[in-house]
Symmetry: C2
């Protein structure tokens, strides 16, 4: 494809995306396709010769779009939001235009340095402790990782290697495999699945500790577990706390966890994937408590900070602990500025060698939206969730499961779990809005999350209308089946009496 | 930003990228900036209020572009190529337009199913063994991973978990930590740094075995190592072979390695990051030998298959071995089609939970380029490297270090290592072309790789001209310093004689 054709195709794609966003409310949020639908629509082999872009773009509309779950629709209320924004999309066009692999400074100075700049902008925007800034003295700094999963895994692996190194020094009588066999990590049973997975991947048992009814993981729960494990001769290495759990957006007690970690020489990582953005709002300033004591922290710009997936911010109090653990250098990767202060070689901060110029979309989004715009977007999400909460509280058929938190409302129809499941089934089958259920102890509940690129009040009203209507159907069905049961019982009774009466007649 | 502004900004970005590509030969391939250049050009804080997109785009040109290493320039000859293509860039616009997180089928059926389709297209295009296709019976299939590093790490971690599971069953007397402490993995000392890093990250010692002067890792080298380790009570779990090493593009002997792995119940993974694309060419059909015996395989479409980074294809003979190892499920991730045949939940095949709709850019590139176009692009790279090789062989000042392989020529100025280093320093300082050096045993050499989005014959001629001219300078300098040394020696001798003569006079 030559540049001229690219100009046409690219601009048509821009219009396609703009049109898509402008008409997204016209689509059901969930697709109406069965598994395998696409296999019959596409050829079994790659075409031998080029096709024109017009027919490809038509096929995007004809075969791809009908198979999409529309995450940018305001009728998406499942999982957590996945940010998208127009400037972020443009940022990725430019990133792909340059198409560099910025694993070290020389591979594109702008790629590394812009990441340093935007990570410091972001740290200040969130009012994080100074030691997380690249621009302050010391070994701290931020990096863009591909996902919260990777950020957490990096922390677990680095904590593991640090612990092995330290133990080898302090206990030269122990073999490395003895040490590795005794390592243990902690999180709460409310943490995201990727925390448990990080334990599996890093080959470090991850104890998911039960928390109380408030769903908060705190220092005393952790301390008890550490004491138990130390008594068994195990070596605690890391604790993963959560700010904004996936189920209910609960906030772990960072300060008390940090104190316990500190006393026990345990790395404290905070997964703030969803709720981290709220640090930017002074009305949530208490969320910043304890952060001065944590070793590392991640949150997703691709949740509600308007930058496309993949974009997870991660800060390290001492990046050398990661670099020392992961550095396996080769002559062909060396360059003369390597190891200079303030110019990190980010390849040693992450799992893969290669890295995209993701800072570009962050920078372009921040500049065209502005700090106040980012805060306004956060506040809009929160206000929309409050609007939903008010409506819910006014309907006596429902109950809240936990307090509303940011853009998340956890609720359920009063009564048994079946009612919740029935309601969700009906709603999911109709595809007008998409929610998912979660479980706390033995109670099923629904999660209503404000999502989509540009949610509005009328979208919340639409969702609430749908939930109410389908609740009516659930209750109607319950009524119908109750009536049916009564009719059955009456008719059985009647036929029994009829039989008796007949048999008496025939006597 | 509203949709109208996005249409303007997006189209301006398309033009910027098209202009950039059309004028890329005008830029030095390496930037003329010093570390930290960007910190003085940008404000220390995020702007409070939005700026217009025009000034942002101007800044991309003013502050970002001068700090770029131009990987898409045909004067880039370092590392390996990083694919970019116009249709692939458009594919990512649409991916970001939909902006979904396709971790399971319900999260966007098209996202999962298109990946199944294009991975099968690709497997057929490369003539891979049938069992790697999703569409054949059995547990095999392909997935798009973010990078070769991740694909290799996935293989190592899965092999580790499988080995632990199997050993626990066959040796119930051993503790899990005993088993884990005995695991060992193998690769060659020519494999990419990410293989060694995979060992570090997975906490499995990775023995990098020395290979002979042919740089080929074969079954007898592996077998000897396995026997040594088994004698020590260790448990061999995986071998990483390479098709196209980073240093010299050497090809390991897959068939003999596979036989040894098979006899020893060791997982065989093939890292074909660069050279995998060559499987598409029948003139390289011998490269396919042994692939029917391997357990997993990765190669980078973002090397020379015209799809933007990040795009690593990975195939598994038995995907269940990964899924069983990594699956940590949660109620909020479950959906009713989970676990169905041919509809993989790719989240269990990879490290992170989230995943972009990367299949879109693959599909759009394959359709607009066509199989014959992809093959032609590969053959063009090879022909350009041959052109370079011919020129080199005609200049008696240089020698080849290994045979040319695909788009890579490894060469050096005859003589000591300093000559190689001096030549590279001169070339790098001039920034007209970018190469890197590598080392084999104690010999330094230069790697000339055909790279860039659209390299042509005149670009190879330009590079060769630059290398020749700078070699003249190196030799001139050598001449000058040799003359200088002679002059010094003569003048010392003269002054010595003068002193003697004077002292004799003064007697």
């Amino acid at each position: 494809m030559d540049a001229k054709t690219f100009r046409e195709f690219g601009k048509a794609a821009i219009d396609y995306v703009a049109d898509y966003m402008e008409t997204i409310r016209e689509c059901d949020v969930l697709p109406s396709v069965e598994p395998g639908y696409l296999f019959d629509l596409l050829p079994k082999d790659m075409p031998e010769n080029p096709e024109d872009w017009q027919s490809v773009l038509k096929d995007v509309d004809r075969v791809i779009k009908p198979g999409m779950t529309h995450w940018q629709s305001p009728n998406m209320h499942a999982y957590y939001p996945t940010a998208s924004s127009f400037p972020s999309i443009v940022g990725d066009i430019l990133c792909n235009g340059f198409s560099v692999i910025g694993f070290s400074w020389i591979c594109s100075p702008a790629c590394t340095e812009l990441e340093v700049v935007v990570m410091d902008w972001l740290a200040k925007f969130l009012k994080l402790p100074q030691h997380f800034l690249h621009s302050t003295e010391g070994p701290g700094g931020g990096i863009i990782q591909g996902s919260a999963s990777e950020a957490i895994l990096v922390a677990v692996m680095a904590a593991r290697e640090q612990a092995v190194k330290n133990m080898k020094q302090s206990h030269p009588e122990m073999s490395e495999s003895d040490i590795r066999g005794k390592l243990i990590a902690y999180s709460s049973d409310q943490s995201n699945s990727c925390v448990e997975k990080a334990g599996v991947l890093a080959a470090v048992p991850m104890r998911l500790l039960s928390v109380g009814d408030d769903l908060i993981f705190n220092g005393s729960i952790l301390e008890k577990a550490i004491e138990e494990d130390k008594a068994k001769g195990l070596i605690p290495i890391i604790c993963i706390a959560t700010m904004g759990t996936t189920g209910t957006c609960a906030f772990d007690d960072i300060t008390s966890l940090a104190q316990v970690c500190n006393r026990n020489n345990v790395w404290l990582h905070v997964d703030a994937a969803y709720a981290g953005s709220a640090l930017a709002l002074d009305e949530f300033s208490e969320l910043r408590n304890g952060l001065e004591l944590v070793d590392s922290l991640n949150f997703n710009l691709h949740k509600f900070l308007m930058v496309n997936f993949d974009c997870t911010a991660m800060w390290l109090r001492d990046a050398n602990k990661v670099v020392d653990s992961f550095n396996v250098d080769r002559i062909y990767l060396k360059h003369k500025y390597e190891g200079q202060t303030q110019i990190p070689d980010f390849r040693h901060w992450q799992i893969p060698l290669g890295r995209r110029f993701r800072a570009l979309k962050v920078w372009i989004t921040f500049r065209t939206v502005g700090a106040e715009g980012l805060r306004a977007n956060l506040r809009k999400h929160i206000a929309l969730a409050e609007r939903f909460e008010k409506k819910l509280l006014a309907d006596p058929r429902f109950e809240m499961v936990t307090k509303r938190c940011l853009g998340l409302v956890c609720f359920r129809p009063k009564g048994d779990n079946k009612r919740t499941t029935d309601l969700l089934s009906l709603i999911t089958e109709r595809k007008k809005i998409y929610m998912i259920q979660a479980k706390h102890r033995d109670q099923h509940f629904l999660r209503f999350v404000v999502c989509g690129m540009d949610p509005k009040e009328e979208d919340v009203d639409f969702a609430w209308q749908e939930i109410q209507t389908q609740m009516d159907v659930v209750l109607d069905k319950k009524l119908v089946s109750a009536v049916k049961a009564d009719v059955n019982s009456i008719s059985q009774q009647f036929s029994k009496e009829l039989n008796i009466s007949n048999s008496e007649k025939s006597k």
